[in-house]
């Protein structure tokens, strides 16, 4: 028998990924939808002797091709005509979910409805007569509680059943007018849903604290700090271990090989390229993916957006942008990936753009190691504040150019749920694998290129070539040019290399206080590191990644020049 294709459709936050995970278990794989930044999850399943391919469509509220997700869902159903579309409906918000259901039926899809989260609906005092709903819509309706695996088997049986008796049905027609359509939906819901008054639900009780005007913010700060700690402490430890292992390995290579110039070159360019990728991105990426998935699946993410919307609006974004920007303080890579939670590609891009300018942990090493160590905490704090100001202003200005269709915050506030850890771990594994395939070649190639330049002694020429900028405009020593180029690989290397080049870690001997400030400002803005550029390429394509890179180089030089002139004019240092 031929392979069956089943597509999963539904609103965001209805437990679609949980159903997907229940169905496909370990045999999943992830890619991108052609030409889109949205991830495509697919999996295989063998059910009572039938080979079935499951495609997890992105969560949408409708099929009007307003967002990438909607376009993908609509096109897939229209063009690839899956044998069955399982529409996962939130039993606790039946009325809202049915809007999409009607649109799916109008596309002539073979629909089976999974009436999910009946437990949550019950808690809200809503009981739904599945048989009645099935009769009214003319398609099978299967009650499920996906998180507990309840009803999943029945869902598959029903799905395979309807492919067997596929008869030519007349195309379904529903009222075209939206208000009428909602009235129609309302009449359906009225016939099959019984509502009883209940006390305050768990979600309501939690929200009264978590969205409270003071307690809510305190909790938010606590969660963010925990997340920060979790991602970066864990990342740091893993990153350190990986470095140690590589170092140990290198120690044990016989000296006659390790002192060989060619060996050193290959080691530096290939192995250290991989190490850079492994230590910069992966250790932070894994905990990040896990934490973000927990925030998303538990239903807390929309609450964060709710709390921070007012602030983000001033930057031309809305509440959801807060998370990636905050993550930027740790590492720009997860920050850029986190921009996926924004609705439109424009907003994703603007958020990522701004996130790359937030000083990541590596840049904090420069800020604290140079300015903080030699000029004091006040100046370091000043640099951070200056950065926030610049990012804020740029957001304010850039949003006017980048955002052509502003989308305000509209989102549903789902009930809180216990996240399914095994599903999250599985998804994280897939996403990290996908990341390695795309980003690693770029990281390794650029490491190779810079080391080749170094090997043939070209770095000096480049720093001489750059001296009109480094010396002329910024008033820095010419040698800084080299550190800036190497900083492209890993920002904190700029400091390490600077120390090596000038032969001392006491920078006050070689740099004036003003030069330290300028060096730090330039390092903070001048270019995203190789791993970040690789991520930008993966998420937004070459063109936009180049745009961000060039823009930030120009911005860094401009800000550095202005800072150098202004500070020396005022004469505070």
């Amino acid at each position: 028998m031929t392979e069956l294709t089943i597509a999963l459709a539904g609103n965001p936050n209805v437990g679609k990924s949980v159903v997907f995970n229940q169905l496909t278990g370990g045999s999943q794989h992830v890619g991108n939808w052609p030409g889109k930044t949205v991830e495509k999850f697919e999996g295989k399943l063998n059910f009572i002797g039938r080979n079935i391919r499951i495609v997890d469509l992105p969560g949408t509220y409708s099929l009007s091709a307003f967002s990438q997700e909607e376009e993908i869902t609509r096109d897939f159903i229209k063009k690839e005509k899956p044998d069955i579309v399982i529409d996962i409906v939130d039993a606790a918000s039946l009325e809202q979910s049915l809007f999409l259901t009607l649109q799916l039926l109008e596309l002539d899809a073979n629909v089976v409805i999974a009436l999910n989260m009946i437990d949550v609906a019950k808690e809200k005092g809503r009981e739904i007569d599945a048989k009645m709903l099935s009769r009214l819509l003319g398609v099978p309706v299967v009650p499920t509680i996906a998180t507990q695996g309840k009803g999943i088997e029945n869902l598959m049986i029903q799905s395979i059943n309807i492919t067997g008796r596929r008869k030519k049905k007349e195309r379904k027609r529903f009222p075209r007018d939206v208000s009428k359509r909602y009235e129609y939906i309302h009449s359906i819901v009225k016939k099959c849903q019984k509502e009883t008054a209940v006390g305050r639900t768990l979600t309501e009780r939690l929200d009264s604290v978590l969205l409270h005007k003071y307690a809510g913010y305190l909790f938010l700060i606590a969660v963010l700090l925990l997340m920060f700690f979790f991602i970066f402490e864990l990342g740091d430890v893993t990153s350190g271990y990986i470095e140690q292992v590589v170092y140990y390995f290198k120690q044990n290579i016989p000296p006659e090989i390790s002192s060989n110039g060619l060996f050193l070159f290959l080691w530096k360019s290939v192995v250290e390229g991989i190490v850079a990728g492994l230590t910069v991105a992966i250790p932070y990426l894994i905990p990040f993916y896990i934490f973000l998935a927990i925030l998303e699946d538990s239903g807390y993410l929309p609450r964060i957006a709710f709390l921070t919307d007012g602030l983000m609006h001033k930057m031309g974004l809305h509440g959801k942008a807060f998370i990636p920007l905050f993550l930027g303080y740790g590492c720009s890579v997860p920050a850029c990936i986190g921009c996926r939670i924004m609705e439109t590609e424009e907003q994703q891009f603007l958020t990522a753009f701004l996130a790359t300018m937030i000083p990541c942990a590596a840049r904090s090493v420069i800020i604290l190691g140079v300015v903080g160590a030699f000029l004091g905490f006040g100046w370091a704090a000043g640099i951070y504040l200056f950065n926030i100001l610049v990012v804020f202003l740029l957001g304010f200005i850039l949003s006017r150019f980048i955002i052509t269709k502003p989308v305000g915050l509209i989102m549903s506030m789902p009930s809180y749920k216990m996240p399914d850890i095994s599903a999250i771990l599985r998804r994280t594994f897939l996403q990290v694998k996908h990341y390695i395939f795309i980003a690693f070649p770029i990281i390794i190639l650029s490491t190779f290129a810079i080391n080749a330049l170094d090997f043939f002694g070209f770095l000096r020429y480049i720093s001489d070539f750059l001296s009109p900028i480094t010396v002329g405009l910024l008033g820095l020593p010419s040698i800084i040019g080299i550190t800036l180029i190497v900083g492209f690989l890993r920002k904190e290397l700029a400091v390490v290399l600077l120390a090596a080049l000038v032969g001392t870690e006491n920078f006050s001997e070689v740099l004036t206080p003003l030069q330290m400030i300028v060096f730090t400002i330039v390092s903070m803005f001048y270019i995203p590191c190789a791993a970040t550029i690789a991520t930008l390429v993966k998420e937004f394509g070459w063109k936009k990644a180049t745009l961000v890179t060039v823009f930030e180089i120009v911005l860094a030089i401009a800000l550095g020049t202005v800072a150098s002139k202004v500070i020396s004019a005022i004469g505070v240092l």
Binding site: F66, Q96, A305, D309, G310, V407, G408, I410
Partner: protein, 202 residues
């Protein structure tokens, strides 16, 4: 000449709608929508190109120029204004749509302003921006002003005019606000809430 102006506007409106949806403007697509032959569509495309409204894409169709986009946008705006106006005063959505289709071509810029003012006046009496409601209050949506994109989004999330919403919670800075709509909790930002006008019913 008069007939031609109406035809041109009708084309521009449809093309602009398609562009907004991100669809390509093809000869057959337009022909289907207007129930005319592809031949007359391509003839019209040539006329439109001469006037600088579109650029021809060989074997495919056309793309709108800046000028064409502006013109399409303006006619669509008039359409929505008229449709909202007629609905506000009691005409059914469908009827209002049909009438707006006919009237939009006759409405001048000045006329548009008059309608806008009249709308504001009529709405002023009992219509309040959703932002001004207190937590716990209920309101019925009268109309939604503003951009197409946000409007469509609201409709899809279940907020077309006529919908009863209950304000559950207002964030510390006034907005976003959390609403109960058709048994579902949704949050909307200030920018959108300001564009939704409601009459308070409870």
């Amino acid at each position: 000449m008069v007939l031609e102006k109406k035809e041109i506007e009708e084309y521009l409106e449809i093309m602009y709608r398609k562009k907004q949806k991100g669809e390509e403007i093809t000869t057959t697509g337009i022909a289907d929508e207007l129930s005319v032959s592809p031949a007359s569509v391509s003839e019209m495309f040539k006329k439109l190109e001469k006037r600088g409204f579109v650029k021809l894409v060989p074997y495919k169709g056309v793309t709108l120029t800046k000028k064409g986009e502006e013109a399409g946008k303006s006619i669509l705006r008039k359409h929505h204004l008229l449709e909202d106006f007629l609905t506000l005063f009691g005409l059914g959505r469908r009827r209002a749509h049909a009438e707006a289709c006919a009237l939009e071509h006759a409405l001048s810029k000045e006329g548009e302003k008059v309608f806008e003012r009249a709308m504001k006046g009529a709405k002023g009496k009992n219509a309040k921006s959703l932002c001004s409601l207190r937590a716990g209050q209920k309101g019925r949506i009268l109309y939604i002003t503003g951009g197409m994109a946000a409007r469509r989004r609201m409709i899809e999330l279940g907020l077309p005019p006529g919908t009863v919403v209950k304000v559950l919670r207002i964030s510390q800075y006034g907005c976003p606000i959390e609403l109960l709509v058709r048994g579902t909790e949704i949050a909307i930002g200030r920018g959108i809430a300001e564009k939704i006008y409601v009459e308070v019913i409870e």
